[in-house]
């Protein structure tokens, strides 16, 4: 039920993001979803890729600081109010979303949203109880 996400520390200077994507591209790694959090001095790039271990290895080799986080990929109905439904369920249970971002592509009629929770297990239990579909890691990497 959990998906492995890679995070990369980036200084705010020209060409760093290009370098990460170039390194991954040359290693034949496909980026499935990404988000970039930025501050004045630095950024944190979060990535879901099709080959987690390999991506981590090549980035580390190139001297990047790489972190690993477990996140949840949730299927959200692609219609008005679809995301609100999921978020309301989480809010009602007092589960805090650290951050979230949308998947690059759709899976059929629905959108895929990546969530980072403080309390991963509680969030997964709740979403499952509500009948909300959660993708497994394997499914996500192959999407």
């Amino acid at each position: 039920m959990k998906v492995e996400q890679i995070s990369v520390f980036l200084e705010n200077k020209a060409g760093r993001l290009a370098e990460v994507t170039r390194v991954l591209g040359e290693a034949g790694i496909n980026i499935r979803a990404l988000s970039l959090a930025d501050t004045t001095d630095f950024g944190i790039l979060r990535l879901i890729v099709d080959q987690y271990d390999r991506a981590r290895e090549v980035l580390k080799q190139k001297g990047f600081t790489v972190g690993k986080t477990e996140v949840v990929a949730v299927e959200v109905p692609d219609r008005p109010g679809g995301l609100a439904l999921v978020l309301q369920a989480l809010a009602a249970a007092g589960i805090n979303v650290e951050y979230m971002y949308a998947f690059v592509q759709h899976s059929g009629k629905n959108a895929v949203i990546i969530f980072r929770f403080d309390n991963l297990e509680d969030a997964i239990n709740l979403l499952q109880k509500q009948g909300i579909h959660i993708y497994t890691g394997e499914e996500v990497y192959r999407l």
Binding site: L10, T39, I44, R46, G63, T65, G67, R116
Partner: protein
């Protein structure tokens, strides 16, 4: 181990009597052989015969690096060139280097003091010494080299640079002693880690690190990563080179200064008045036995304190505290005196903060800004912005608490701070440009 128990454990009374005899001889030597000193002493109305007690040292003139520059290249030499067998020079950050001369007896003394130094670090004949100090005009490489040979150890004269090759030699030749700058020791650890080398399982037992100020926090880091005892050594080319003082392996508590050859004082760098034992000030050294290049009251610019209490190792010669920085490295940030070593101490106390840092000083309008750049590694990195911001705030707060100065902390990517294969450049001061 104590190599020369006679001099290193002399009763202080006898030591001071010896120092006085030697100081009187130096007074005679420089007055008659170095026109610069004769002029200075005449200006002060001092004659060599006025030196009757060690306190009379106060009558003698100070010497600065500028004085040596003003007498470039050979004006300070107290021996004719046919008696001089070697010339070293210290790097001139501002133009010309400052040359230093040695007679063959000077080289003999230096080798002996470096042998004492290595013995204090626990080295002996059976050791293999990997000497990664630079060979050349810089005194580090050759100073250690001759000391190691005098001790009867095996010396590998690697010099600086070619880090990966050095790591291969560390694995294959099995040296037991490493000698280099502390920043290069850390760089070796870092490159070695990348190459998959398990340092604690190499044969290295002890490291003698110097030529730049470093802290106890850095010592712990080096000891853990390289799996050896890390000892601090002090010296400067104007005085001789490495081997002026060194920590003993028994106590690692202060650097034993070879007082039979060097007469130390601590002065207030602003007023030049002497400070009592234990207080931190600028170290001033008078050479007692140099033939070719004797110096009276040379202002080292290094900040330290002296302790005359005997050490648990048995030595009675005084101990210097680890260097607190240089009086000319001192940054004045909005009126507050800041030494790079103080920032380093703060950083080393924060778990996970890598030992590589750089200070950038700039001026916006009339305000000085100090930016502390710290590398983010896997132990401190987080996928959440707030965690990284908490880290920068923590560093800022601790520096503010300790130094009362507000700094900007910038997290940078690993390896973005230049690594040194010699002395680390910790400060970039943009105000002077």
């Amino acid at each position: 181990m104590i190599r020369d128990a006679f001099y290193e454990t002399m009763p202080r009374e006898d030591l001071e009597a010896l120092q006085l005899r030697r100081l009187q001889a130096v007074g005679e030597r420089v007055y008659h052989l170095v026109p610069f000193y004769r002029r200075r002493m005449d200006e002060l109305g001092v004659k060599p015969e006025h030196i009757r007690t060690l306190e009379d040292l106060q009558l003698l003139p100070f010497t600065t690096k500028q004085d040596i520059r003003d007498n470039y290249p050979y004006g300070m030499f107290a021996a004719p060139l046919d008696q001089i067998v070697r010339i070293h020079a210290s790097s001139g950050t501002t133009g010309k280097p400052t040359p230093v001369a040695y007679t063959s007896r000077d080289l003999d003394t230096w080798s002996e003091l470096m042998a004492r130094t290595l013995a204090a670090a626990g080295a002996h004949r059976a050791d293999i010494i990997h000497n990664a100090y630079g060979y050349g005009l810089f005194t580090g490489g050759l100073g250690f080299h001759y000391g190691a040979e005098r001790l009867g150890a095996t010396v590998i004269p690697v010099s600086g640079g070619q880090t990966r090759r050095q790591i291969m030699l560390l694995q294959d030749f099995g040296p037991t002693v490493l000698t280099c700058t502390p920043s290069f020791a850390l760089y070796l650890a870092e490159v070695g880690q990348e190459m998959g080398v398990d340092f604690p399982h190499l044969k290295l037992r002890v490291g003698v690190f110097g030529a730049e100020p470093w802290t106890d926090g850095m010592r712990t880091e080096i000891e853990n990563r390289l799996g050896l005892d890390a000892l601090d050594i002090y010296g400067l080319s104007e005085i001789m080179g490495p081997g002026v003082s060194v920590e003993c392996i028994e106590a690692k508590n202060g650097l034993h200064l070879f007082e039979d050859h060097f007469l130390p004082e601590i002065v207030d760098p602003a007023t030049l008045s002497p400070l009592p034992p234990g207080e931190i000030g600028e170290l001033v050294i008078t050479t007692l036995t140099r033939e070719a290049f004797p110096l009276l009251r040379y202002r080292t610019r290094d900040l330290t304190s002296l302790n005359k209490a005997p050490c648990q190792c048995g030595r009675t010669i005084c101990r210097m505290s680890r260097l607190r920085g240089r009086s000319d490295d001192m940054l004045i940030i909005r009126g507050v005196n800041v030494f790079p070593s103080q920032i380093e101490s703060v950083l080393m106390e924060i778990p996970g903060v890598a030992p590589h840092y750089q200070l950038i000083v700039s001026r916006e309008g009339q305000l000085d800004n100090l930016e502390v750049q710290v590398e983010v590694d896997e132990t401190t990195f987080s996928d959440e912005v707030k965690q990284l911001q908490a880290l920068t705030q923590k560093i800022q707060k601790q520096i503010k608490d300790y130094l009362t100065v507000s700094v900007k902390v910038k997290l940078v990517e690993p390896r973005s701070i230049p690594r040194s294969e010699g002395k680390a450049q910790r400060v970039i001061d943009l105000r002077q440009q």
